[in-house]
């Protein structure tokens, strides 16, 4: 068959190991497929750069474009341009807004809202086991302000928590910017401010471990840490019994799913429009079922 030329514009590769691992996985998946050639671009978190990249890919006449949107709405006109040029567009990892659905073939990625909800359930179940579900107080450390993933995870968590554990109070939320160090600082302040913290929900394990480090340093025991996107640091902390649970999400699955969707679209196969891959709960209880994340 003719080689398929697939271009991808990622959100912000350097920023965390999830995205870097994604990029690596994407490239190796493409290398493994003799029919696929790829152009891998990184928008560096900048919408303007991402739009320029889509324009460039259109100009280079690629066969399909995969996009990891920096902003689910701002890219719509650019996506429309691609679609007008007859190039199928696949959205990966976090979806674009509904207005743009007409111009894309498929979305493939995790469901951030469900992830947030699942984290709430993990937290709640643990509190119930401990018998403190009626009075527990928790704090949240969210991802970088403005990022869809950060927003949706917080939203999923905040909506689900009162449904499952109506008496648990979320006393304060502060952003940790996906950054372990920043998260540690935020947690230090929380510890000074609140004598009574039973649980911490962090938008990803990096921040969760930052918070854990702060708690360890100040000698506060018995806090339940729940994260999202299980990183290897989080997995190790769970092994040590310091960190309760997280959401298992593999960037490799994410990348491979996106590429496969694109290949399928080009091959003329029917693909579901919303192509979520599963991101299960992982806790100290069931972690033996999962291999340690590579990132």
């Amino acid at each position: 068959a003719d080689t398929m030329k697939i271009g991808i514009s990622q959100n912000n590769v350097g920023v965390d190991s999830y995205q870097t691992t994604y990029e690596k996985a994407f490239i190796s998946a493409a290398d493994a497929n003799a029919d696929v050639e790829t152009v891998v671009l990184d928008a560096g978190g900048d919408v303007a750069r991402q739009i320029a990249q889509i324009e460039d890919l259109i100009q280079q006449e690629v066969d399909a474009i995969i996009i990891w949107p920096t902003n689910g709405e701002a890219v719509i006109p650019a996506v429309r341009k691609a679609s007008k040029a007859g190039i199928p567009v696949i959205v990966t990892n976090s979806n674009i807004a509904e207005q743009g659905f007409d111009f894309v073939k498929s979305f493939s990625g995790p469901d951030n809202i469900t992830q947030g909800a699942r984290s709430a359930e993990i937290m709640c179940d643990k509190f119930k086991d401990m018998g403190i579900a009626d009075k527990a107080k928790i704090v949240q450390i969210s991802g970088q302000p403005g990022y869809t993933t950060a927003i949706e995870r917080a939203q999923g968590f905040e909506e689900r928590l009162p449904e499952v554990c109506p008496n648990v109070t979320l006393v304060e939320t502060q952003p940790g910017d996906w950054n372990r160090e920043k998260s540690q600082k935020v947690m230090e302040a929380f510890l000074v401010k609140y004598d009574d913290i039973d649980g911490v929900y962090a938008g990803d394990d990096n921040m969760g471990v930052g918070a854990l480090n702060a708690a360890k340093a100040s000698g506060r025991d018995g806090i339940i840490f729940v994260g999202a996107t299980n990183f290897s640091v989080g997995y190790e902390a769970m092994e040590r019994g310091e960190y309760w649970g997280s959401i298992y999400q593999s960037p490799v699955d994410d990348a491979e799913a996106a590429l496969q969707t694109a290949v399928d679209v080009l091959a003329g196969k029917e693909v579901p429009f919303l192509n979520y891959f599963d991101t299960p709960k992982i806790t100290q209880d069931n972690m033996s079922n999962y291999s340690k994340p590579v990132f």
Binding site: G14, T20, T21, Q174, P175, V186, N206
Partner: protein, 343 residues
């Protein structure tokens, strides 16, 4: 050099009456007024204490200083660079590099070798910048911005983009730098204090420090005074990279694992601390002591606002106001007038 001494030339003194009262000594009040930044610092310490009674708790203070130590150590080095009339925007990215490198080498060659190896690698980067800015006289803003990007690329290549973690976190003594206490004081604070006093003395009391001020104040005049301006600038960058390596060590030891972006964005925070301390971006003025104050102000602002529990965006806005007020108060005290004389 001539054998002649000054005495042989025979400096005959030309006695004149010094008009009485024409030159009075500077008054204590005036000296105090020059320390506007300290007053600003005191003012908002009081403000936060009123807003939250835990703000001045010893634990909290210790905590703030400890977590400011990393930023602080970097700011010490950047003070030298700024004093010499240059900028360093690469420190954040370089700090990520050293953290990742030392963590990686820790498991590969052991901490005893990893630490000097990491220092050597980081200081090579510093030397490269120093060469470009000092000897080739390239614009420091662009060079260090370029290095910010290039070192980030280097770190990503080195780590393959992955988080770097020490395998055996419980069993290594490597955590002493970041996590343990000595005589009841956290080690990072001790390292920061030690480095601050050493570099403070280096800057204020040694010929080298004097040269740094001269080069930043007027590079041409420094050259005409026989100072090797290129070398001074070069060493400032090497020194800065030494501080960055120390910060990377503290960071790595504190969390025993790190992201590739651990230092991202710190360059502007560091610069803000240095400038807040009153160093001039034009070079030639500023002190280590003031930089330390600047670091503490930034650290306490962040912590205080978190304790008060403002939304993060309100923190941004308050930080804006505090930064400008602090510097304004500082210069207003120096010039003795609130409003600027700009026509």
């Amino acid at each position: 050099m001539s054998e002649l001494t000054q005495e042989k030339i025979g400096l005959k003194s030309r006695r004149r009456e010094q008009p009485v009262g024409r030159f009075s000594n500077l008054k204590l009040g005036e000296i105090l007024a020059r320390q506007g930044i300290l007053i600003a610092f005191a003012l908002f310490l009081i403000g936060f204490t009123i807003a939250n009674d835990r703000f001045l708790a010893p634990d909290n203070i210790m905590g703030v200083v400890r977590s400011s130590a990393i930023l602080g150590v970097m700011a010490l080095g950047v003070t030298f660079v700024v004093l010499s009339g240059n900028l360093d925007l690469s420190v954040g990215s370089m700090m990520s590099f050293s953290t990742i490198v030392v963590l990686d080498l820790h498991d590969k060659i052991g901490p005893v070798l990893a630490i000097p190896a990491m220092f050597a690698m980081t200081m090579c980067l510093g030397a490269l910048i120093g060469f470009l800015v000092g000897y080739l006289r390239l614009n420091s803003l662009i060079v260090t911005l370029g290095m910010l990007s290039a070192i980030h690329g280097l770190t990503l290549t080195y780590s393959g983009g992955k988080n770097m973690d020490i395998a055996d976190k419980e069993g290594t003594w490597f955590s002493v730098f970041g996590q343990s206490d000595l005589v009841g004081i956290p080690v990072p604070i001790l390292i920061f204090a030690l480095l601050a006093s050493t570099l403070g003395i280096l800057l204020a009391k040694t010929p080298y420090g004097r040269k740094v001020y001269a080069v930043g104040g007027n590079g041409l005049a420094a050259t005409f005074s026989g100072i090797n301006r290129s070398r001074v600038v070069f060493t400032c960058y090497v020194l800065s990279s030494f501080c960055v390596a120390t910060a990377g060590l503290l960071q790595a030891s504190r969390s025993l694992g790190s992201q590739n972006t651990v230092g991202q964005g710190l360059e502007l925070e560091v610069l803000a601390a240095v400038i807040l301390g009153g160093a001039s971006l034009m070079g030639g003025s500023g002190t280590i002591f003031k930089t330390v104050i600047g670091v503490l102000i930034l650290g306490f602002i962040q912590n205080g606002l978190l304790l008060v529990g403002l939304q993060f965006y309100a923190q941004y806005i308050v930080t804006w106001i505090i930064i400008i007020l602090a510097v304004w108060l500082d210069i207003a005290a120096k010039r003795g007038k609130l409003w600027s004389p700009i026509a």
